[in-house]
């Protein structure tokens, strides 16, 4: 709007926002302890203490609520707070006496405190019907329904053997850690794209054809105009064609829905990082509260919580008991769809006689 327009200056330096106790102990923390659900203390080499109170957040925040966070930070933390990589908010305190009052205020505001240690933390999720064109399901709504059901595992009311990370993505683009989560909820289309008239005016046909991983898209002519046609038997509904060409919409109220995946992880602790594997191939969209999804997730959580050993993540648990047992315990029906038929399929077959009978 004026004088010299600044560009490419990057984010403000984070050091500006660190509380003094962190500046003093930066890189010099000695250990930490979990004091109670959602509260931990980090102790510096010299004995300084930093208390963290973690609160669940809906991630989609209005400025009003953010201002409330700021108020609480002023009241208890010298104005200092941060957010986590799973979108929780963390208040950074030095005065232990402030912990309980802060927790009370957070509860009054509707925010549970928890998610630290062996707990279910917030669900990493995406835009859904709130903002994305690609969504096969909503994001925030499913997350809300599932977390309403699971919040006792967040706030420590219920004990569990280890960390359990849930993620949701509203389409196969998987804007989040869905492919490596203990439990993942994934929006899926199940109907091939509908080719819209005038496609050639908005899209480059060679690009569209090249976009399809299974070569399901072929050039064609419609009413004398160049267009494309879909070999529906080759389509696995990835929507990559739609990503490059808006004239190939995928969303479809009758066929869209949700799938559930289990056993992924990211950390290197004990076992190596793992992909999530298909548990429930398809559940219809059931707004506003997705009861079937909520039930399925709870069942999986309970099977794990009952059977897992301390520290044992979902994937390690299932590997120990075997997939056949997992299907039996959860009551999920094993179907053809569970069997991989994509690029590395052969390696997912059971290539040994090591079986429980």
């Amino acid at each position: 709007m004026d004088t010299q327009r600044r560009t490419d200056f990057g984010p403000p330096d984070f050091r500006r926002f660190l509380p003094p106790v962190i500046k003093d102990n930066y890189g010099k923390w000695k250990y930490h302890e979990i004091l109670k659900p959602g509260v931990m203390v980090h102790v510096g080499e010299g004995g300084d203490k930093l208390f963290t109170v973690r609160a669940g957040s809906p991630r989609l925040l209005g400025t009003k609520r953010i201002r409330k966070y700021a108020e609480l930070a002023d009241k208890y933390c010298g104005g200092h707070l941060r957010f986590t990589s799973r979108h929780n908010v963390e208040f950074l305190l030095t005065d232990e006496a402030n912990i309980d009052p802060l927790i009370k205020d957070l509860h009054d505001l509707g925010h549970p405190v928890g998610g630290i240690g062996p707990a279910i933390s917030s669900i990493v999720h995406t835009q859904g019907w709130v903002h994305c064109h690609s969504a096969a399901t909503d994001a925030s709504g499913v997350v809300k329904a599932v977390m309403d059901d699971l919040h006792e595992y967040f706030d420590g009311t219920k004990q569990i053997p280890g960390k359990l990370r849930i993620a949701l993505a509203c389409c196969l683009n998987m804007c989040g850690a869905v492919h490596c989560s203990d439990i993942a909820i994934l929006g899926v289309h199940r109907r091939p794209p509908k080719v819209q008239q005038g496609l050639n005016k908005v899209c480059e046909i060679p690009n569209v054809i090249a976009a399809c991983p299974t070569a399901a898209i072929r050039p064609s002519t419609v009413d004398g105009n160049p267009s494309v046609e879909i070999d529906e038997s080759l389509c696995m509904f990835c929507a990559n064609c739609f990503s490059v060409c808006p004239a190939l919409p995928m969303a479809d109220a009758l066929n869209d829905g949700v799938s559930i995946w289990v056993g992924g992880k990211v950390s290197n602790a004990r076992s190596e990082p793992m992909f999530s594997k298909l548990a429930v191939p398809f559940i219809e969209n059931e707004p506003p509260r997705w009861p079937t999804v909520v039930q399925a997730v709870r069942k999986i959580v309970e099977v794990w919580a009952d059977g897992a050993r301390p520290y044992e993540r979902m994937g390690d648990f299932i590997e120990r008991i075997g997939w056949p047992k997992f299907f039996k315990l959860t009551g999920i029906e094993f179907q053809k769809e569970h069997i991989d038929d994509y690029r590395y399929a052969g390696l997912s077959y059971k290539r040994s006689a090591q079986l429980r009978h």
Partner: protein, 412 residues
């Protein structure tokens, strides 16, 4: 709340999502809609409609953005602009967060002020990549928002085929296990690659994520093209008194600690915990379980891994080891040079919408390493090839028999 406009709520389905114990995003939108914020009000109604029809109402964005930037804005239009004119355009700005997501109340309020003035007042704190997401404004507000943000020292994040906003775990700011300064490196990379971040010139997106140790609290190995994961080369530091204290506190060290060690390189005799550090793979488990007793070593650095991505197009990948161990000190020249060499090769050989991890697989890791001038090492693989389909590049011709200059690459 806007539930009662005479004959009951206009958003009966969404209202259901205000029930329950978890904080509600619907409540957030309603809070904002309460003072006559038209965008939020119409967003609620549009969303109610999606809930009724089980389908989204957003369309592809056209090319919208701010002057001189190729990315940072996600264009969005709804497909019912007549009915929902206030959100006919409803673009998102991606704004670089301060590294580590640290804020003061002051700077948070500043962001709120800007966004109340120029946009819907709705945000994501934060997006999956880590940006501050300013959720929804009109095309003509984009530039003014950017101006206001820039005065507050906030710049845009990435979108499209560029570097995306790098992210880092809390690292040395609060974590005793940080093996390098995740926050400084992340901030430095963000500043160094401003041009690559703001002006898409790659075959596809490129993400950096910095985790201070193998716990990988920013999920870098799953979600970033270049994953920088802290680790150490020397011995785990042990305080045997504290080990005994954990045992006395009821911890089953034999079963839960030694028994969970992936290489079974630990031994506990009821009194001393012994670690065969030459076989420790730095998984963090024992340290995680006994933070008062065990700590990573002091010769710290990082492992650099390459290529993670979501499934589109060729299938999801986890990053794989590129540099088993590197010391990371400012100015981090080695890692920056490495990134540049990778981008050069990718820029030249990558196909449109081909992530660097897919390129690596397509040309073969061996060839890829040659191109980016990195020596092959057994640490880069889980196991050597099990198939005999080796592409030797050279062979002897009959004439060579005497003159052996043209030696085949692979004769040991």
């Amino acid at each position: 709340m806007s539930e009662t406009n005479g004959k009951g709520s206009a958003t009966p389905l969404l209202d259901e999502l205000e029930k329950g114990d978890w904080p509600s995003f619907v409540t957030q939108i309603k809070e904002m809609a309460a003072d006559g914020n038209e965008q939020c009000q119409q967003l609620l109604e549009l969303l109610e409609r999606s809930y009724r029809e089980k389908i989204g109402h957003w369309k592809h964005g056209g090319i919208v953005g701010v002057h001189g930037y190729g990315g940072g804005v996600i264009g969005r239009y709804n497909d019912l602009p007549e009915e929902f004119p206030a959100i006919a355009h409803f673009h998102t700005l991606r704004v670089n967060m301060p590294t580590g997501w640290f804020y003061t109340s002051e700077v948070l309020r500043k962001i709120c002020d800007i966004w109340d003035e120029h946009g819907s007042g709705l945000t994501n704190m934060h997006g999956s990549t880590g940006d501050i997401i300013l959720l929804g404004t009109t095309t003509d507000e984009l530039e003014p928002t950017f101006q206001a943000l820039s005065e507050a020292d906030f710049d845009l994040g990435g979108s499209g085929s560029d570097v995306r906003t790098p992210s880092a775990c809390v690292g040395p700011a609060r974590c005793e296990w940080a093996c390098y300064d995740t926050l400084d490196l992340c901030n430095d990379l963000t500043q160094t690659f401003q041009d690559e971040l703001h002006r898409p010139a790659f075959p596809y997106k490129f993400k950096f994520k910095c985790s201070g140790c193998p716990n990988d609290c920013v999920a870098s190995i799953a979600r970033s093209d270049m994953s920088i994961i802290g680790t150490w080369r020397d011995d785990i530091r042990i305080d045997q008194d504290e080990v005994r204290a954990y045992a006395e506190g009821g911890m089953n060290i034999e079963r839960d600690i030694c028994g969970n060690c992936p290489t079974k390189c630990m031994a506990w005799d009821g009194n001393e915990l012994e670690i065969d550090n030459s076989n420790c793979v730095k998984c963090m488990h024992c340290i995680n379980a006994m933070p008062k007793a065990l700590r990573p070593g002091v010769d710290t650095g990082a492992t650099i891994l390459l290529g993670a991505k979501a499934p589109i197009v060729q299938g999801a990948q986890l990053s794989s080891v590129l540099i088993p161990f590197i010391k990371l000190e400012p100015p981090y020249q080695e890692i920056k040079d490495l990134a540049e060499r990778i981008w050069d090769f990718w820029g030249e050989h990558g196909k449109n919408r081909e992530r660097v991890g897919e390129l690596m697989q397509r040309v073969g890791l061996g060839n890829f390493l040659e191109a980016i001038e990195v020596e092959p090492l057994p640490e880069m693989i889980a196991a050597p090839r099990d198939n005999p389909y080796v592409f030797y590049e050279e062979y002897y011709e009959e004439e060579d028999e005497e003159a052996e200059e043209e030696e085949p690459a692979a004769v040991p």
